[in-house]
Protein backbone atom coordinates (compact mmCIF):
# COMPACT_ATOMS: atom_id res chain seq x y z
CA UNK A 1 0.00 0.00 0.00
CA UNK A 2 1.63 3.20 -1.09
CA UNK A 3 0.95 6.55 0.48
CA UNK A 4 -1.00 7.84 -2.48
CA UNK A 5 -3.83 5.35 -2.22
CA UNK A 6 -4.03 5.32 1.56
CA UNK A 7 -7.26 7.26 1.39
CA UNK A 8 -8.72 4.92 -1.21
CA UNK A 9 -7.71 1.98 0.92
CA UNK A 10 -9.41 3.37 3.99
CA UNK A 11 -12.62 4.00 2.07
CA UNK A 12 -12.58 0.55 0.49
CA UNK A 13 -11.91 -1.05 3.86
CA UNK A 14 -14.87 0.73 5.37
CA UNK A 15 -17.00 -0.34 2.42
CA UNK A 16 -15.94 -3.96 2.80
CA UNK A 17 -17.01 -3.89 6.42
CA UNK A 18 -20.34 -2.31 5.51
CA UNK A 19 -20.84 -5.10 2.97
CA UNK A 20 -20.29 -7.63 5.73
CA UNK A 21 -22.76 -5.82 7.94
CA UNK A 22 -25.34 -6.07 5.18
CA UNK A 23 -24.76 -9.81 4.93
CA UNK A 24 -25.34 -10.32 8.63
CA UNK A 25 -28.41 -8.13 8.41
CA UNK A 26 -29.94 -10.16 5.58
CA UNK A 27 -29.25 -13.28 7.57
CA UNK A 28 -30.97 -11.77 10.56
CA UNK A 29 -34.07 -11.35 8.41
CA UNK A 30 -34.03 -14.97 7.22
CA UNK A 31 -35.98 -17.60 9.11
CA UNK A 32 -34.09 -19.30 11.93
CA UNK A 33 -32.62 -22.72 11.30
CA UNK A 34 -32.43 -23.80 14.93
CA UNK A 35 -34.68 -26.61 16.04
CA UNK A 36 -35.87 -26.23 19.56
CA UNK A 37 -34.65 -29.64 20.50
CA UNK A 38 -36.51 -31.53 23.16
CA UNK A 39 -39.77 -29.76 22.33
CA UNK A 40 -39.41 -29.84 18.60
CA UNK A 41 -38.38 -33.20 17.21
CA UNK A 42 -35.94 -33.32 14.36
CA UNK A 43 -37.30 -35.50 11.57
CA UNK A 44 -35.18 -38.62 11.45
CA UNK A 45 -35.03 -40.43 8.11
CA UNK A 46 -36.31 -43.97 7.83
CA UNK A 47 -32.89 -45.39 7.06
CA UNK A 48 -31.30 -43.95 10.20
CA UNK A 49 -28.76 -46.22 11.84
CA UNK A 50 -29.68 -45.98 15.49
CA UNK A 51 -30.57 -48.46 18.19
CA UNK A 52 -30.63 -52.13 17.26
CA UNK A 53 -33.93 -53.99 17.46
CA UNK A 54 -34.96 -57.57 16.95
CA UNK A 55 -37.90 -58.11 14.68
CA UNK A 56 -40.62 -60.64 15.17
CA UNK A 57 -42.22 -62.65 12.46
CA UNK A 58 -45.92 -62.86 11.68
CA UNK A 59 -46.34 -65.43 14.42
CA UNK A 60 -44.98 -62.99 16.95
CA UNK A 61 -41.82 -65.04 17.49
CA UNK A 62 -38.33 -63.71 16.99
CA UNK A 63 -36.94 -64.10 13.54
CA UNK A 64 -33.41 -64.47 14.85
CA UNK A 65 -32.17 -68.03 14.70
CA UNK A 66 -28.90 -67.40 16.52
CA UNK A 67 -26.91 -68.19 13.38
CA UNK A 68 -24.10 -65.88 14.57
CA UNK A 69 -23.76 -64.15 11.19
CA UNK A 70 -24.14 -60.74 12.80
CA UNK A 71 -21.65 -61.56 15.47
CA UNK A 72 -19.10 -62.54 12.87
CA UNK A 73 -19.78 -59.46 10.79
CA UNK A 74 -19.45 -57.01 13.65
CA UNK A 75 -16.14 -55.16 13.51
CA UNK A 76 -16.12 -54.08 17.14
CA UNK A 77 -17.53 -57.09 18.99
CA UNK A 78 -20.61 -55.20 19.96
CA UNK A 79 -22.62 -58.42 19.78
CA UNK A 80 -20.60 -60.60 22.13
CA UNK A 81 -23.15 -63.30 23.01
CA UNK A 82 -25.78 -65.14 21.01
CA UNK A 83 -27.39 -68.40 22.04
CA UNK A 84 -30.29 -70.27 20.53
CA UNK A 85 -32.56 -72.93 21.96
CA UNK A 86 -31.91 -76.59 21.25
CA UNK A 87 -34.48 -77.08 18.50
CA UNK A 88 -32.99 -77.83 15.16
CA UNK A 89 -33.61 -76.34 11.78
CA UNK A 90 -35.97 -73.46 11.13
CA UNK A 91 -37.56 -73.74 14.53
CA UNK A 92 -34.37 -72.57 16.22
CA UNK A 93 -34.83 -69.19 17.90
CA UNK A 94 -32.52 -66.90 19.84
CA UNK A 95 -32.60 -67.30 23.61
CA UNK A 96 -29.83 -64.99 24.62
CA UNK A 97 -28.69 -62.04 22.58
CA UNK A 98 -26.56 -59.19 23.87
CA UNK A 99 -25.91 -55.92 22.11
CA UNK A 100 -23.34 -53.58 23.63
CA UNK A 101 -24.29 -50.08 22.54
CA UNK A 102 -21.14 -48.64 24.04
CA UNK A 103 -19.05 -50.56 21.53
CA UNK A 104 -21.34 -50.28 18.55
CA UNK A 105 -20.14 -48.27 15.56
CA UNK A 106 -23.59 -48.23 13.97
CA UNK A 107 -22.07 -49.31 10.69
CA UNK A 108 -24.95 -51.62 9.83
CA UNK A 109 -22.75 -54.55 8.82
CA UNK A 110 -24.72 -56.86 11.13
CA UNK A 111 -27.99 -55.95 9.46
CA UNK A 112 -26.43 -56.56 6.07
CA UNK A 113 -25.08 -59.91 7.21
CA UNK A 114 -28.34 -61.20 8.62
CA UNK A 115 -29.82 -63.82 6.28
CA UNK A 116 -33.26 -63.70 7.95
CA UNK A 117 -33.78 -59.94 8.08
CA UNK A 118 -34.15 -60.40 11.82
CA UNK A 119 -32.41 -57.31 13.11
CA UNK A 120 -32.56 -53.71 12.14
CA UNK A 121 -31.09 -50.38 13.15
CA UNK A 122 -33.86 -47.97 14.05
CA UNK A 123 -34.48 -44.27 14.16
CA UNK A 124 -33.98 -44.12 17.89
CA UNK A 125 -30.78 -42.13 18.34
CA UNK A 126 -30.96 -41.30 22.00
CA UNK A 127 -29.25 -44.24 23.63
CA UNK A 128 -28.24 -43.13 27.07
CA UNK A 129 -27.83 -44.68 30.47
CA UNK A 130 -26.65 -43.84 33.91
CA UNK A 131 -23.82 -46.33 33.84
CA UNK A 132 -22.15 -48.54 31.34
CA UNK A 133 -24.31 -51.52 32.24
CA UNK A 134 -27.34 -49.59 30.98
CA UNK A 135 -25.79 -49.63 27.54
CA UNK A 136 -25.66 -53.39 27.38
CA UNK A 137 -28.97 -54.52 25.93
CA UNK A 138 -30.32 -58.02 26.37
CA UNK A 139 -33.02 -59.57 24.28
CA UNK A 140 -35.85 -58.09 26.36
CA UNK A 141 -34.67 -54.60 25.63
CA UNK A 142 -34.00 -55.33 21.99
CA UNK A 143 -37.48 -56.44 21.08
CA UNK A 144 -38.90 -54.44 18.26
CA UNK A 145 -42.50 -54.29 17.17
CA UNK A 146 -44.07 -57.32 15.56
CA UNK A 147 -44.58 -57.40 11.82
CA UNK A 148 -47.03 -54.78 10.66
CA UNK A 149 -46.62 -52.44 13.60
CA UNK A 150 -44.75 -49.25 13.02
CA UNK A 151 -41.41 -48.64 14.67
Amino acid sequence: MTRTNLFVDVVLSALSIVKGLMVTLTNALRPRVTRNHPFQKTPIPEVWRGRLVHLRGEDGRLRCTACLACQKACPSHAIPTIQGDDKKGKEKRAQVYVWDASRCLFCGLCVEACPFDAIRLTREYSIVGEDRADLIFDLNRLLGPAEGETA
Binding site: K19, G20, V47, W48, R49, P75
Partner: protein
Protein backbone atom coordinates in the same frame (compact mmCIF):
# COMPACT_ATOMS: atom_id res chain seq x y z
CA UNK B 1 12.50 -5.94 21.46
CA UNK B 2 14.30 -8.29 19.20
CA UNK B 3 17.49 -6.27 19.30
CA UNK B 4 20.34 -7.17 21.55
CA UNK B 5 19.71 -4.10 23.67
CA UNK B 6 16.95 -5.55 25.78
CA UNK B 7 17.01 -9.29 26.06
CA UNK B 8 13.42 -10.39 26.29
CA UNK B 9 12.25 -13.46 28.05
CA UNK B 10 11.51 -16.53 25.96
CA UNK B 11 8.28 -18.07 27.01
CA UNK B 12 7.41 -21.65 26.22
CA UNK B 13 3.72 -21.71 25.59
CA UNK B 14 1.84 -24.95 25.37
CA UNK B 15 -0.88 -24.43 22.85
CA UNK B 16 -3.13 -27.38 23.42
CA UNK B 17 -3.94 -30.22 23.81
CA UNK B 18 -6.89 -28.30 25.19
CA UNK B 19 -7.13 -25.08 23.28
CA UNK B 20 -9.99 -23.68 21.23
CA UNK B 21 -8.00 -23.48 18.01
CA UNK B 22 -5.98 -26.64 17.80
CA UNK B 23 -8.79 -28.42 15.99
CA UNK B 24 -8.78 -31.49 18.13
CA UNK B 25 -6.17 -32.72 20.49
CA UNK B 26 -2.96 -31.31 19.14
CA UNK B 27 -0.29 -29.76 21.28
CA UNK B 28 2.00 -27.11 19.87
CA UNK B 29 4.97 -26.25 21.99
CA UNK B 30 5.61 -22.66 21.03
CA UNK B 31 8.75 -20.83 21.96
CA UNK B 32 7.75 -17.18 22.15
CA UNK B 33 9.65 -13.96 22.26
CA UNK B 34 6.98 -11.54 23.32
CA UNK B 35 4.32 -12.63 20.91
CA UNK B 36 6.65 -13.74 18.16
CA UNK B 37 7.10 -17.43 17.57
CA UNK B 38 10.74 -18.45 17.60
CA UNK B 39 10.22 -22.18 17.39
CA UNK B 40 7.34 -24.60 17.29
CA UNK B 41 7.16 -28.28 18.05
CA UNK B 42 3.95 -30.12 17.24
CA UNK B 43 3.29 -32.97 19.65
CA UNK B 44 0.87 -35.54 18.35
CA UNK B 45 -0.57 -38.83 19.44
CA UNK B 46 -3.37 -37.75 21.75
CA UNK B 47 -5.90 -39.33 19.45
CA UNK B 48 -3.95 -42.48 18.62
CA UNK B 49 -6.22 -45.48 18.43
CA UNK B 50 -4.04 -47.90 16.53
CA UNK B 51 -6.38 -48.21 13.60
CA UNK B 52 -3.70 -49.65 11.31
CA UNK B 53 -2.95 -52.40 13.79
CA UNK B 54 -6.60 -53.03 14.52
CA UNK B 55 -7.19 -53.51 10.81
CA UNK B 56 -4.96 -56.57 10.87
CA UNK B 57 -7.39 -58.29 13.21
CA UNK B 58 -10.50 -57.45 11.16
CA UNK B 59 -11.88 -58.94 7.99
CA UNK B 60 -11.84 -56.78 4.89
CA UNK B 61 -15.39 -55.44 5.23
CA UNK B 62 -14.89 -54.92 8.94
CA UNK B 63 -12.00 -52.52 8.41
CA UNK B 64 -14.28 -50.14 6.56
CA UNK B 65 -16.11 -48.56 9.51
CA UNK B 66 -12.78 -47.85 11.12
CA UNK B 67 -11.60 -45.78 8.20
CA UNK B 68 -14.47 -43.39 8.87
CA UNK B 69 -12.74 -42.43 12.07
CA UNK B 70 -9.55 -41.25 10.40
CA UNK B 71 -10.48 -38.02 8.74
CA UNK B 72 -13.84 -37.78 10.41
CA UNK B 73 -14.82 -34.68 8.47
CA UNK B 74 -14.85 -36.53 5.19
CA UNK B 75 -15.33 -40.19 5.86
CA UNK B 76 -16.22 -40.84 2.21
CA UNK B 77 -12.71 -40.23 0.98
CA UNK B 78 -11.25 -42.51 3.64
CA UNK B 79 -13.72 -45.22 2.66
CA UNK B 80 -12.90 -44.60 -0.97
CA UNK B 81 -9.15 -44.98 -0.57
CA UNK B 82 -9.52 -48.23 1.33
CA UNK B 83 -12.21 -49.62 -0.92
CA UNK B 84 -10.18 -48.67 -3.99
CA UNK B 85 -7.19 -50.62 -2.70
CA UNK B 86 -9.29 -53.67 -1.87
CA UNK B 87 -11.08 -53.57 -5.20
CA UNK B 88 -7.72 -53.41 -6.96
CA UNK B 89 -6.67 -56.52 -5.04
CA UNK B 90 -9.88 -58.27 -5.97
CA UNK B 91 -9.90 -56.99 -9.52
CA UNK B 92 -13.49 -55.97 -8.98
CA UNK B 93 -15.43 -53.91 -11.49
CA UNK B 94 -17.99 -51.57 -9.93
CA UNK B 95 -21.32 -50.77 -11.60
CA UNK B 96 -21.48 -47.41 -13.32
CA UNK B 97 -24.26 -46.05 -11.11
CA UNK B 98 -22.26 -46.88 -8.01
CA UNK B 99 -19.32 -44.97 -9.42
CA UNK B 100 -21.44 -41.87 -9.89
CA UNK B 101 -22.96 -42.24 -6.45
CA UNK B 102 -19.50 -42.54 -4.99
CA UNK B 103 -18.44 -39.31 -6.64
CA UNK B 104 -21.59 -37.61 -5.35
CA UNK B 105 -20.80 -38.80 -1.88
CA UNK B 106 -17.15 -37.72 -2.18
CA UNK B 107 -17.96 -34.27 -3.46
CA UNK B 108 -20.71 -33.67 -0.91
CA UNK B 109 -18.22 -34.61 1.73
CA UNK B 110 -15.64 -32.30 0.22
CA UNK B 111 -18.03 -29.37 0.44
CA UNK B 112 -18.98 -30.34 3.99
CA UNK B 113 -15.34 -30.54 4.97
CA UNK B 114 -14.44 -27.25 3.32
CA UNK B 115 -17.40 -25.65 5.06
CA UNK B 116 -16.02 -26.83 8.36
CA UNK B 117 -12.69 -25.37 7.31
CA UNK B 118 -14.34 -22.08 6.47
CA UNK B 119 -16.25 -22.08 9.73
CA UNK B 120 -13.32 -22.87 11.96
CA UNK B 121 -10.91 -20.66 10.06
CA UNK B 122 -13.27 -17.73 10.40
CA UNK B 123 -13.81 -18.54 14.04
CA UNK B 124 -10.06 -18.69 14.64
CA UNK B 125 -9.81 -15.22 13.18
CA UNK B 126 -12.63 -13.98 15.36
CA UNK B 127 -15.49 -13.93 12.88
CA UNK B 128 -17.80 -16.05 14.97
CA UNK B 129 -20.81 -15.48 12.80
CA UNK B 130 -19.28 -17.09 9.73
CA UNK B 131 -18.69 -20.15 11.89
CA UNK B 132 -22.41 -20.47 12.35
CA UNK B 133 -23.09 -19.87 8.65
CA UNK B 134 -20.66 -22.56 7.59
CA UNK B 135 -22.16 -25.03 10.02
CA UNK B 136 -25.65 -24.09 8.87
CA UNK B 137 -24.93 -24.93 5.25
CA UNK B 138 -23.07 -28.07 6.23
CA UNK B 139 -26.21 -29.22 7.96
CA UNK B 140 -27.93 -29.41 4.56
CA UNK B 141 -25.28 -31.88 3.44
CA UNK B 142 -25.66 -33.80 6.66
CA UNK B 143 -29.37 -34.04 5.95
CA UNK B 144 -28.62 -35.46 2.51
CA UNK B 145 -26.28 -38.03 3.98
CA UNK B 146 -28.64 -39.05 6.72
CA UNK B 147 -31.48 -39.64 4.30
CA UNK B 148 -29.22 -41.73 2.11
CA UNK B 149 -26.89 -43.50 4.50
CA UNK B 150 -28.67 -43.14 7.80
CA UNK B 151 -25.65 -41.47 9.37
CA UNK B 152 -24.29 -37.98 9.30
CA UNK B 153 -20.59 -38.18 9.85
CA UNK B 154 -19.41 -41.76 9.81
CA UNK B 155 -21.39 -43.04 6.90
CA UNK B 156 -19.21 -45.99 5.75
CA UNK B 157 -21.46 -45.90 2.75
CA UNK B 158 -18.86 -46.52 0.09
CA UNK B 159 -18.67 -50.27 0.40
CA UNK B 160 -16.49 -52.84 -1.27
CA UNK B 161 -18.12 -53.39 -4.63
CA UNK B 162 -20.24 -50.26 -4.70
CA UNK B 163 -22.20 -48.22 -2.21
CA UNK B 164 -24.29 -49.25 0.77
CA UNK B 165 -27.65 -48.60 -0.83
CA UNK B 166 -29.24 -46.74 -3.66
CA UNK B 167 -30.26 -43.17 -3.07
CA UNK B 168 -33.81 -42.72 -1.79
CA UNK B 169 -36.55 -40.90 -3.67
CA UNK B 170 -36.20 -37.18 -3.60
CA UNK B 171 -32.49 -37.28 -3.01
CA UNK B 172 -31.59 -35.97 -6.44
CA UNK B 173 -34.01 -33.07 -6.16
CA UNK B 174 -32.81 -32.14 -2.71
CA UNK B 175 -29.20 -32.37 -3.81
CA UNK B 176 -29.88 -30.23 -6.87
CA UNK B 177 -31.61 -27.68 -4.67
CA UNK B 178 -28.51 -27.63 -2.54
CA UNK B 179 -26.39 -27.14 -5.65
CA UNK B 180 -28.48 -24.13 -6.57
CA UNK B 181 -28.31 -22.66 -3.09
CA UNK B 182 -24.64 -23.18 -2.42
CA UNK B 183 -23.15 -20.72 -4.96
CA UNK B 184 -25.37 -17.98 -3.54
CA UNK B 185 -24.17 -18.74 -0.07
CA UNK B 186 -20.59 -18.79 -1.30
CA UNK B 187 -21.09 -15.30 -2.72
CA UNK B 188 -22.32 -14.29 0.69
CA UNK B 189 -19.21 -15.64 2.36
CA UNK B 190 -17.15 -13.75 -0.15
CA UNK B 191 -18.93 -10.56 0.79
CA UNK B 192 -18.66 -10.98 4.52
CA UNK B 193 -15.23 -12.58 4.73
CA UNK B 194 -13.12 -12.77 1.60
CA UNK B 195 -13.49 -9.11 0.73
CA UNK B 196 -13.23 -7.92 4.31
CA UNK B 197 -10.20 -5.73 4.77
CA UNK B 198 -9.47 -7.09 8.23
CA UNK B 199 -9.66 -10.65 6.99
CA UNK B 200 -7.32 -9.80 4.15
CA UNK B 201 -4.92 -8.14 6.52
CA UNK B 202 -4.89 -11.26 8.63
CA UNK B 203 -4.34 -13.72 5.79
CA UNK B 204 -2.53 -12.07 2.90
CA UNK B 205 1.19 -12.74 2.99
CA UNK B 206 0.86 -14.70 6.22
CA UNK B 207 2.27 -18.20 6.66
CA UNK B 208 4.19 -18.55 3.42
CA UNK B 209 4.63 -22.10 2.16
CA UNK B 210 7.03 -22.02 -0.80
CA UNK B 211 6.08 -24.61 -3.44
CA UNK B 212 9.41 -26.47 -3.21
CA UNK B 213 9.14 -26.71 0.56
CA UNK B 214 5.61 -27.98 0.28
CA UNK B 215 6.57 -30.61 -2.27
CA UNK B 216 9.60 -31.67 -0.25
CA UNK B 217 7.51 -32.14 2.85
CA UNK B 218 4.88 -34.11 0.98
CA UNK B 219 2.15 -31.53 1.23
CA UNK B 220 -0.81 -32.00 -1.07
CA UNK B 221 -4.34 -30.88 -1.66
CA UNK B 222 -5.47 -27.29 -1.22
CA UNK B 223 -2.49 -26.60 1.02
CA UNK B 224 -0.14 -27.28 -1.87
CA UNK B 225 -2.41 -25.84 -4.52
CA UNK B 226 -2.49 -22.63 -2.52
CA UNK B 227 1.20 -22.47 -3.31
CA UNK B 228 0.58 -22.69 -7.03
CA UNK B 229 1.37 -26.39 -7.56
CA UNK B 230 -1.26 -27.92 -9.79
CA UNK B 231 -1.56 -31.36 -8.29
CA UNK B 232 -4.86 -33.06 -7.80
CA UNK B 233 -5.25 -36.82 -7.63
CA UNK B 234 -8.62 -36.50 -9.32
CA UNK B 235 -6.78 -35.15 -12.34
CA UNK B 236 -3.40 -36.84 -12.00
CA UNK B 237 -4.79 -40.32 -11.60
CA UNK B 238 -8.55 -40.21 -12.15
CA UNK B 239 -10.56 -42.74 -10.20
CA UNK B 240 -14.24 -43.59 -10.51
CA UNK B 241 -15.73 -41.22 -13.08
CA UNK B 242 -13.57 -38.18 -12.46
CA UNK B 243 -11.96 -38.66 -15.85
CA UNK B 244 -15.27 -37.94 -17.59
CA UNK B 245 -16.22 -34.95 -15.53
CA UNK B 246 -15.61 -31.35 -16.33
CA UNK B 247 -13.96 -29.43 -13.52
CA UNK B 248 -11.01 -27.18 -12.88
CA UNK B 249 -8.09 -27.80 -10.58
CA UNK B 250 -7.95 -24.56 -8.64
CA UNK B 251 -4.56 -23.13 -7.79
CA UNK B 252 -3.34 -19.88 -6.31
CA UNK B 253 0.19 -18.60 -6.65
CA UNK B 254 0.30 -16.58 -3.44
CA UNK B 255 1.52 -19.36 -1.08
CA UNK B 256 -0.15 -17.67 1.90
CA UNK B 257 -3.17 -18.32 4.10
CA UNK B 258 -5.33 -16.34 1.71
CA UNK B 259 -4.25 -18.55 -1.18
CA UNK B 260 -5.13 -21.72 0.67
CA UNK B 261 -8.42 -20.22 1.76
CA UNK B 262 -9.32 -19.11 -1.75
CA UNK B 263 -8.44 -22.50 -3.20
CA UNK B 264 -10.91 -24.14 -0.85
CA UNK B 265 -13.59 -21.58 -1.54
CA UNK B 266 -13.19 -22.10 -5.29
CA UNK B 267 -13.08 -25.85 -4.85
CA UNK B 268 -16.48 -25.75 -3.28
CA UNK B 269 -17.80 -24.13 -6.45
CA UNK B 270 -16.05 -26.79 -8.51
CA UNK B 271 -17.56 -29.48 -6.32
CA UNK B 272 -20.99 -28.04 -6.90
CA UNK B 273 -20.24 -28.19 -10.61
CA UNK B 274 -19.19 -31.84 -10.36
CA UNK B 275 -22.26 -32.65 -8.28
CA UNK B 276 -24.58 -31.10 -10.82
CA UNK B 277 -23.00 -33.08 -13.64
CA UNK B 278 -23.18 -36.33 -11.69
CA UNK B 279 -26.76 -35.81 -10.56
CA UNK B 280 -27.88 -35.08 -14.08
CA UNK B 281 -25.95 -37.90 -15.73
CA UNK B 282 -26.69 -40.51 -13.06
CA UNK B 283 -27.20 -43.78 -14.97
CA UNK B 284 -29.67 -46.45 -13.96
CA UNK B 285 -28.56 -49.81 -12.76
CA UNK B 286 -27.13 -51.75 -9.89
CA UNK B 287 -25.30 -49.97 -7.13
CA UNK B 288 -23.28 -52.89 -5.88
CA UNK B 289 -21.27 -55.58 -7.62
CA UNK B 290 -21.50 -59.18 -6.51
CA UNK B 291 -19.09 -59.58 -3.67
CA UNK B 292 -18.53 -62.86 -1.88
CA UNK B 293 -19.61 -62.97 1.74
CA UNK B 294 -16.08 -63.69 2.86
CA UNK B 295 -13.58 -61.66 0.97
CA UNK B 296 -10.27 -63.39 0.36
CA UNK B 297 -8.21 -61.33 -2.04
CA UNK B 298 -5.33 -63.08 -3.72
CA UNK B 299 -1.89 -62.53 -2.27
CA UNK B 300 -0.50 -59.17 -3.24
CA UNK B 301 -0.55 -55.52 -2.47
CA UNK B 302 -2.49 -52.54 -3.68
CA UNK B 303 -2.43 -48.80 -3.26
CA UNK B 304 -5.56 -46.75 -3.40
CA UNK B 305 -5.24 -42.98 -3.57
CA UNK B 306 -7.92 -40.35 -3.57
CA UNK B 307 -8.05 -36.61 -3.36
CA UNK B 308 -9.54 -36.01 0.05
CA UNK B 309 -10.54 -32.47 1.04
CA UNK B 310 -7.21 -32.22 2.81
CA UNK B 311 -4.98 -33.65 0.12
CA UNK B 312 -3.80 -36.98 -1.14
CA UNK B 313 -5.30 -39.59 1.11
CA UNK B 314 -4.03 -43.05 0.30
CA UNK B 315 -4.34 -46.53 1.59
CA UNK B 316 -1.88 -49.36 1.12
CA UNK B 317 -3.19 -52.86 1.67
CA UNK B 318 -1.15 -56.07 1.72
CA UNK B 319 -3.00 -59.32 1.39
CA UNK B 320 -1.67 -62.74 2.30
CA UNK B 321 -4.67 -64.52 0.90
CA UNK B 322 -6.49 -64.78 4.22
CA UNK B 323 -9.79 -62.99 4.98
CA UNK B 324 -7.89 -60.42 7.01
CA UNK B 325 -5.43 -57.91 5.57
CA UNK B 326 -1.81 -58.56 6.49
CA UNK B 327 -1.04 -54.89 6.68
CA UNK B 328 -3.02 -51.70 6.15
CA UNK B 329 -1.30 -48.37 6.01
CA UNK B 330 -2.93 -44.98 5.58
CA UNK B 331 -1.24 -41.96 4.11
CA UNK B 332 -2.88 -39.06 5.91
CA UNK B 333 -2.31 -35.67 4.27
CA UNK B 334 -2.71 -33.77 7.52
CA UNK B 335 0.31 -35.53 8.95
CA UNK B 336 2.55 -34.07 6.26
CA UNK B 337 1.00 -30.65 6.63
CA UNK B 338 1.60 -30.77 10.33
CA UNK B 339 5.25 -31.62 9.79
CA UNK B 340 5.78 -28.57 7.62
CA UNK B 341 3.91 -26.36 10.08
CA UNK B 342 6.94 -25.42 12.25
CA UNK B 343 8.64 -24.04 9.15
CA UNK B 344 5.58 -21.96 8.34
CA UNK B 345 5.10 -20.61 11.85
CA UNK B 346 8.56 -19.26 12.45
CA UNK B 347 8.61 -15.51 12.91
CA UNK B 348 4.87 -15.06 13.05
CA UNK B 349 2.81 -14.02 16.02
CA UNK B 350 0.52 -16.11 18.19
CA UNK B 351 -2.50 -14.70 16.40
CA UNK B 352 -0.99 -15.78 13.09
CA UNK B 353 -0.23 -19.23 14.44
CA UNK B 354 -3.94 -19.73 14.80
CA UNK B 355 -4.56 -18.51 11.26
CA UNK B 356 -1.78 -20.62 9.75
CA UNK B 357 -2.83 -23.72 11.65
CA UNK B 358 -6.37 -23.13 10.50
CA UNK B 359 -5.31 -22.61 6.91
CA UNK B 360 -3.69 -26.03 6.57
CA UNK B 361 -6.92 -27.55 7.85
CA UNK B 362 -5.69 -30.56 9.73
CA UNK B 363 -7.79 -33.28 11.26
CA UNK B 364 -6.13 -35.01 14.16
CA UNK B 365 -8.07 -38.19 13.60
CA UNK B 366 -6.00 -38.99 10.56
CA UNK B 367 -2.75 -37.60 11.94
CA UNK B 368 -2.75 -39.84 15.00
CA UNK B 369 -4.69 -42.69 13.40
Amino acid sequence: MTTGLTPTEHITLNMGPQHPSTHGVLRLELELEGEVIVACRPIIGYLHRGIEKMAEARTYPQVLPYTDRLDYLSSSSNNMAYVQAVEKLLGLEVPERAKYLRVISLELNRIASHLVFLATFANDLGATTVFLYGMRERELIMDLFSMWAGARLTQSWIRIGGVGADIPDGFVDQALAFCRLMPKRLDEYDRILTGNRIFRARTEGVGILPPELGVNYGASGPTLRGSGVEFDVRRAEPYEVYGDLDFEVVTRPTCDCMGRYLVRMQEMRQSVRILEQCLKRLPEGEVRAKVPRVIRPPEGEAYGRVESPRGEFACYVVSDGSPRPARVRFRAPSFYHLSVLPRMLQGWKVGDAVAILGSIDIVLGEVDR
